[in-house]
């Protein structure tokens, strides 16, 4: 308890916020008033002060709470404190209660009555507007300087072309970003005819400058988003300037936004997600209001967009998820909230953050399928049925019923399965016979001929037709090499518990290990097994059982090493799992001169099935992008190389007469950001340590604010960085770019915490430190600007760029 003899006089809080010399409103925290006056009373024993702060904190929280995003719940305003009369905050507190972190809420200004009032009310939007204009300049400056296909433009430009030509293609990334590339091409009047060979010169009919400008527009928008996010986070205006400056001046972000790549869109949607989330957080004081719903829904849509550009977007989804879990946990502890409101809160999150993003994601695939209705290079990734109704595909002219002597291709029906394939190369171990794999592209090595067993009479084209039926024991001959599909008691190369499947013998040599029993599972059109009379191409689902070993032909998604060209392993599964779709096959292409083409109109392939199929195929290919130990990939890098900029990346050829682009950050931003993450840990540790010993460094509002911004930045950074360590796939420097945003936020947050919002420094000190920071950032950017705008002439004539020995900017 406070000793009664101490008299407290905090003065009255100033009525209007003081204006700084800059054009923006400096909004002090209400806490400042209290501290500013408390500081004057130096003799005041702070220990007692803080104890009643602590009392307040205890009341406001439910048991077990440890300072969540929303500690200090919605009903805080209605709380009755013992010391109500002495509560210095109560006057400045809005009547309805407020969220204790994030942007300070101000009542909306009265409607402007004159132009000058309008201007003064909106003056706060002037700096972001200026930054946006600057950003336009940096992003668009000399954007068409390099007239060749730079780096991954080779991929994404090509995919854009596929949309214009409406040919089905396959890629590991979801379609939204590439559709936007296609849209940019469409708007720019590109006809989709260019091949986008890496390093090739753009021909005259490719409006690559216009396309790049449209992509760079997403990059331009990052700067105002950064600014407003900082505002919404409740950083001081100094710190908002720093965030905007860092986003504006990072060379890596600049460089990656200037080409026809997905990264600018990925970054844009990452930024919008954070922005909407912070917007939403600031609406938490009025649950279920229109604005609350709006920003929650926008967050959901934004999540949907970012994951529809690249799967890396799932990381930002995880940040939103963590925020939401903590938020709901806080609400769960709020004993005053009605059950109805509890349920409404949960339902709102499920609706906006789960259902909505999934709808957006699926929508992008729906549009993808609608646009790409012609046969193209990606056909074989999809199910046979899907392919059948692509324009330009001849499956519908296949003969319907498979007979002996038919030449067929067999498609595995597991998600992402390919075509049964064999080629002259042999297994390096095991039987060392000819390899059998699953392959996702169409070529002649996928063709197999259905033939009778060795002990039956040889197939004769002049004999009466003999249709294939359930239970037939047949031999499958590889058309190109005339070898027979074979399995034996040798462990398969990857799935060692299964038998190896190989190709053995030739048209005349073979043994009983070449026999496969055809077992019908069912038919998509004809129905269950007993209704299936003859085996139909495309629709009948089959299993192949090895006649002597009793094992089943199976292709699950395990990838062979380099000697098998990273194709999918085919093995013979000793376990009989009748429900394992990886043992299901269907006849895809079917050629038989003696049979008439089927005239059936083929059936619809349901969207959900195609959607799921394509996603599994993407996942499989993504996992197959593992670093190849045999290949020295100079472009790939390790996650540990990124925070301290161990490596840069040459984005194009390094000849003397071409503009050269080097993907490398602005060192002060990258290093400062990484250092701030380390510092944030130490600071948090020190604060917790001091808290445990009952030192009071901050009041509860400041503490909540410190934690809230710190958590957003740290969760974001950690969730965008740590997963790369456990991912098996090849990683590149540009994977760090979304991560960088959070280290920038942390950097600004800590600067804000220690300098700009600290009570310790005079206004002048703050101005000077801001000047120094801003100067360093801009100067550092200017020093390295060439990396993003293109370096002309021999690289070694440019001086002073090699700040770390490991960068390969110069030719050795």
């Amino acid at each position: 308890m406070r000793p009664p003899q101490v008299e407290l006089d905090f003065g009255t809080p100033p009525g209007t916020p003081p204006r700084t010399s800059s054009d923006f409103e400096e909004v002090p925290y209400p806490a400042d008033h209290h501290w500013a006056t408390a500081q004057q009373q130096e003799s005041l024993p702070l220990h007692y002060m803080s104890e009643d702060t602590a009392t307040r904190r205890r009341v406001a929280r439910g048991p077990g709470s440890s300072g969540g995003f929303l500690s200090g719940d919605e009903h805080e305003g209605e709380m009755q404190y013992d010391d109500e009369g002495k509560d210095v905050y109560s006057k400045s507190r809005p009547a309805k209660g407020r969220v204790s972190s994030g942007r300070i809420r101000r009542p909306p200004p009265p409607p402007p009555t004159s132009i000058s009032e309008f201007i003064s009310q909106n003056l706060e939007h002037l700096p972001p507007a200026i930054y946006t204009l600057l950003s336009c300049w940096t992003r668009f400056h000399k954007i068409g300087h390099s007239g060749v296909v730079v780096w991954d433009e080779a991929h994404f430009g090509k995919f854009g072309s596929h949309y214009l030509k409406r040919e089905f293609y396959f890629d590991v990334h979801p379609p939204l970003g590439k559709m936007l590339v296609g849209l940019a091409g469409l708007l720019a009047g590109y006809d989709g005819s260019f091949e986008f060979k890496s390093g090739a010169e753009y021909s005259d009919n490719v409006p690559y400058v216009a396309m790049r400008v449209m992509m760079a527009t997403f990059g331009v928008a990052m700067v105002p988003l950064g600014w407003y996010t900082a505002v919404e986070l409740g950083l001081s205006s100094w710190a908002c300037h720093l965030v905007a400056l860092m986003v504006l001046c990072d060379v890596a972000w600049l460089c990656i936004s200037r080409f026809i790549l997905l990264d600018s869109m990925l970054l844009f949607f990452t930024f919008t997600t954070v922005f909407f989330l912070t917007k939403f957080h600031n609406q938490q004081y009025q649950s279920f209001s229109f604005d609350w719903w709006l920003w929650l829904a926008m967050t959901g849509i934004s999540i949907g967009c970012v994951t529809s550009v690249k799967w890396i977007g799932l990381f930002i989804t995880a940040v939103v998820g963590l925020y939401t879990i903590e938020d709901l946990w806080d609400k769960f502890g709020d004993l005053k909230m009605s059950y109805r409101d509890q349920i409404r809160h949960w339902a709102a999150r499920v609706l906006c953050l789960i259902v909505l993003p999934i709808l957006v994601y699926m929508m992008s695939f729906k549009i993808h399928f609608l646009i790409l209705n012609h046969s193209g290079p990606g056909d074989a990734q999809m199910s046979s049925l899907f392919q059948a109704h692509l324009v330009g595909n001849d499956f519908s002219r296949n003969p319907l019923e498979v007979a002996y002597g038919s030449k067929i291709t067999l498609k595995n029906m597991g998600w992402g399965g390919g075509l049964l394939h064999s080629h002259v190369q042999t297994y390096p171990a095991g039987s060392t016979q000819q390899q059998v794999t699953c392959y996702h592209y169409k070529d002649d090595n996928n063709d197999w001929v259905v033939l009778p067993r060795w002990d039956e009479s040889e197939y004769n084209p002049n004999d009466p037709l003999h249709f294939l039926q359930d239970g037939d024991v047949i031999r499958l001959q590889h058309a190109a090499t005339t070898r027979n599909l074979h399995s034996h008691n040798v462990p398969a190369p990857v799935t060692k518990l299964n038998n190896e499947v190989s190709c053995y013998g030739n048209a005349t040599i073979g043994d009983y290990h070449d026999y496969w029993k055809v077992e019908v599972v069912d038919d998509i059109k004809q129905g269950s097994k007993d209704k299936v009379d003859r085996i139909h191409s495309l629709t009948t689902r089959l299993r192949f059982r090895h006649d002597t070993l009793g094992c089943y032909l199976r292709a699950a998604n395990s990838v062979l090493p380099q000697w098998g060209y990273k194709q999918i392993e085919v093995s013979c599964d000793k376990e009989n799992n009748p429900n394992d779709p990886h043992t299901y096959w269907n006849v895809e292409s079917h050629w038989n001169d003696r049979l008439p083409p089927a005239d059936t109109k083929f059936f619809k392939s349901p969207f959900l099935r195609d959607f799921w199929h394509l996603n599994v195929a993407m996942m499989t290919s993504n996992n197959a992008l593992i670093p190849d130990p045999d290949k020295d990939d100079i472009l790939a890098s390790n996650p540990t190389d990124w925070p301290w900029m161990h490596l840069g990346l040459r984005m194009c050829g390094w000849g003397d007469h071409q503009p050269k682009y080097y993907l490398l950050g602005t060192p002060i931003i990258w290093w400062g950001g990484s250092a701030s993450l380390v510092v944030s840990f130490i600071v948090l540790g020190v604060y917790l340590f001091r808290h445990q010993r009952k030192y009071i460094d901050m009041d509860s509002r400041e503490w909540d604010h410190f934690l809230y911004v710190g958590k957003i930045a740290f969760y974001g950074w950690f969730l965008h960085y740590a997963p790369f360590f456990i991912m098996g796939r090849v990683t590149y420097v540009h994977h760090y770019l979304p991560t960088l945003y959070f280290s920038v936020l942390m950097f600004s947050h800590l600067l804000d915490h220690f300098i700009f919002s600290s009570r310790r420094w005079k206004e002048k000190t703050k101005k000077i430190s801001f000047g120094v920071c801003a100067f360093l950032i801009v100067a550092n950017f200017w020093w390295f600007r060439g990396l993003a705008w293109g370096i002309d002439g021999p690289i070694n004539e440019h001086w002073g760029l090699l700040w770390r020995k490991s960068w390969n900017i110069y030719n050795a």
Binding site: G64, F332, E519, P578, D632, I726, A812
Partner: protein, 730 residues
């Protein structure tokens, strides 16, 4: 009542006596079966024999448990002649006293049972519950199979459970801080912790567990509300630093000290070590053959990783390669695996040399030329892409008499970890050859050149001058020229050199870490951690075809599933408690809640710390890595059973200090259902154990049908299963 009667010290001693006797019986039953090398006995038996023959070996695990095996072997008169080469090698035929060696893990494995019992007892559970936890380990097929063979896990688990036991005793004395007993249990914890870590690399997880517990403990002491001063905190901190850091480190180091002291002779592990280390071993090849190199010596150079010689021959590079790139058409320089006179290179100086004496010795960072003896041309590299890798420089040679490209024939000799003035030695000096003008290092990789180079290995210039895999050494000295004596004083050279213990330790420790991470090769019985608690797959340790005998490492289904269900229940209770308290409800009494969070929670931490890290490890993983976690889960199962049967606990259990506030005492009472549940469970466990025992003991042999019956889960891959014809789907 019966309950209280059981909880008397005499009854408790009787129960633990019975359990221990049973443990010994089960683990020693037919311990001589099979009289063949089983599974990893290949490694650990071999290491024991190395200790006896004192030959240096290398392994990823610390030496304590292996030293014990060596000791056991020596004790029973094993002379180290048998080297455990293959699974299935006969012990009887080779007269190996293997039973004595297997007795060591069997004893330690049996003694683990009373320790598990004691942990539960000390943590405040009743005799029945303690027996329940002990029974889960006692009748477990996996524990029995693992501890009756020459494997490290029994030692690991014994010391791990002792560590936990000591720590529990230590914690219970927290109101008697700094008393003699308090110190004894603290230091015992540290000591056993070091033994655990010294047995197997996984033991580090036990260290982490104790670390986590200590940090939580210290954080509490730091709490201002407890009224402790900072001086007291630092005192506590220092005590733990001594007991749990200083003591264990000394013990851990001493294992290595003994290890190095015993292994004084050259052996299979030499090649893993640095040349300086190798020269401390008696009879080491480097020690015997390493010589300083002098200018004009003719030598052969070998690549360290791929073991090929630097080679050149008169054939030239083709003008264009398949991909259309153009070569210099110079003489080919390749890597060749066999001895050949085309591997001979002479070291040519680039500076004036004295006629004789040490001035002629080649030293670190000297600028040299290498002359290919057969074609009389100098090794050269230049800015032309190599045949296979466009990013790397081509290596070729240039005629001796043509001085036009003198600069391109200059190379720096960079000894690995070399200091200025170090001499270049054959065999022992590893070096990189760095091209003076372009700073590329001579490098090769296992890819072969096409037929035009006779499928020899490509040599090229790697742009990274400090590339680790660009390391070479001089394999042999072909001839020596110049005026100095070839005579070497043999006696002087054969004396092993000295190296400080700490340097040796640091080197070995680093290598162990690197190799442990590098154990990624696939293994048919390796399994992913998610399978372990559910017992989805085991390991085939050993088979004998004639008699259809096999040892298959698999746990007792009843016990393992009880454990995993208990863990789930625990998480459920904790979750429910959290949710309830968040809503302002307190369903649990304070003592019950304390017990659940603090003791069962500690067991769960042990379980999690010994289990979860495996998910992020990329090395080969086997189900026996789960066994320490299984012990922890048996402790959890006891705690959970106690919670389910009764809401009473023995309380308080910490020894009250002089000024400790008295708390109301409470005794656990499981009621009638307690003995019934534990009794039925014990019978079930035993029956299941017996049913699976042929797979555990590897005897008797089983016919195919029986094997199919024993295969309780379809994912178990037992041998000799009868062929079932795969059914046609209905």
């Amino acid at each position: 009542s019966f309950e209280q009667a059981l909880d008397t010290p005499q009854a408790s001693a009787a129960v633990v006596g019975v359990l221990t006797a049973a443990a010994f019986a089960l683990r020693f039953y037919k311990i001589n079966q099979p009289d063949q090398v089983v599974f990893d006995e290949v490694h650990f038996g071999k290491f024991a024999s190395y200790y006896i023959s004192r030959q240096y070996y290398f392994d990823v695990h610390p030496p304590f448990a292996k030293l014990l095996f060596g000791l056991a072997g020596w004790f029973v008169g094993f002379d180290g002649h048998f080297t455990f080469e293959n699974i299935g090698d006969s012990y009887s035929d080779n007269h190996v006293p293997y039973v004595g060696m297997r007795a060591l893990p069997a004893i330690l494995g049996s003694l683990t049972i009373p320790v598990v019992y004691a942990i539960m007892k000390e943590t405040g559970y009743s005799t029945l519950i303690a027996a329940f936890s002990a029974i889960i380990v006692l009748f477990d097929n996996a524990h029995v199979a693992q501890s009756r063979l020459i494997l490290l896990d029994a030692t690991l688990m014994f010391f791990m459970s002792l560590t936990i036991y000591s720590y529990v005793r230590f914690r219970k004395l927290r109101y008697w801080e700094f008393s003699v007993e308090w110190w004894s249990w603290l230091i015992a914890t540290g000591f056993f912790m070091a033994c655990t870590w010294g047995s197997k690399v996984n033991g580090i997880l036990t260290v982490v567990t104790i670390g986590v517990a200590v940090l939580i403990d210290l954080w509490d002491i730091l709490d201002h509300k407890k009224g402790h001063t900072m001086e007291l905190f630092w005192k506590h901190f220092m005590a733990r630093a001594i007991g749990l850091i200083v003591v264990p480190v000394i013990i851990y180091l001493s294992f290595f000290y003994v290890h190095f002291a015993v292994l004084t002779h050259s052996g299979s592990g030499d090649t893993f070590m640095s040349p300086a280390f190798q020269e401390t071993l008696i009879g080491n090849e480097l020690l015997l053959n390493s010589q300083e190199l002098r200018y004009y010596d003719t030598v052969t150079l070998m690549h360290k990783d791929t073991k090929v010689f630097l080679h050149s021959h008169v054939e030239r590079y083709p003008l264009t390669y398949e991909d259309g790139r153009v070569s210099s058409q110079g003489q080919q320089v390749t890597g060749y695996g066999h001895e050949d006179s085309n591997n001979n290179w002479q070291i040519i100086p680039t500076k004036a040399l004295p006629e004789t004496g040490p001035g002629r010795i080649v030293r670190h960072e000297d600028l040299i030329q290498l002359l290919h003896v057969n074609t009389q041309s100098f090794l050269l590299t230049h800015d032309v892409a190599s045949p296979l890798m466009p990013t790397n420089q081509e290596f070729t040679t240039w005629p001796k008499d043509n001085h036009s490209r003198f600069n391109d024939t200059l190379f720096y000799l960079n000894l690995v970890d070399g200091n200025e003035g170090d001499a270049w030695k054959s065999k022992s000096s590893h070096f990189r050859l760095v091209h003076a003008p372009t700073r590329v290092s001579m490098w090769t990789h296992s890819k072969q050149l096409p037929d035009w180079a006779f499928k020899q290995q490509e040599i090229n210039g790697n742009k990274n001058p400090t590339e680790k895999s660009a390391t070479w050494f001089v394999d042999s000295i072909i001839s020596q020229e110049g005026g100095y004596s070839l005579m070497l004083d043999d006696d002087e050279l054969k004396e092993p050199k000295k190296m400080s213990f700490f340097k040796k330790f640091a080197e070995l420790q680093l290598l162990m870490l690197q190799h442990n991470a590098g154990l990624t090769a696939s293994h048919p019985y390796a399994s992913s951690p998610i399978n372990w608690p559910f017992l989805l797959s085991g390991i085939s340790f050993w088979t004998e075809n004639d008699t259809q005998k096999q040892i298959y490492l698999i746990g007792n289904v009843v016990g393992w599933w009880t454990c995993i269900i208990s863990l789930s229940i625990f998480i459920g209770i904790i979750g429910a408690d959290l949710l309830a308290r968040r809503r302002g409800l307190t369903p649990l009494t304070e003592p019950t809640r304390n017990r659940l969070w603090n003791s069962a929670g500690f067991f769960v931490v042990i379980w999690a710390v010994h289990y979860l890290p495996f998910f992020v490890m990329s090395r080969q993983l086997f189900i026996h890595h789960y066994l320490p976690s299984h012990i922890a889960s048996a402790l959890v199962a006891g705690a959970v059973l106690s919670f389910i049967l009764s809401d009473t606990v023995n309380y308080p259990i910490s020894i009250a200090g002089r000024s400790t506030r008295r708390r109301p005492e409470e005794l656990a009472d499981l009621g009638v259902q307690g003995p019934v549940v534990v009794g039925v469970f014990a019978i079930l466990m035993f029956v299941m154990f017996l049913y699976m025992s042929p797979l555990t003991y590897g005897t008797p042999g089983l016919d195919g049908e029986t094997v199919n019956q024993k295969r309780l889960l379809s994912s178990w891959t037992l041998h000799f299963a009868a062929k079932t014809n795969a059914e046609v789907i209905p």
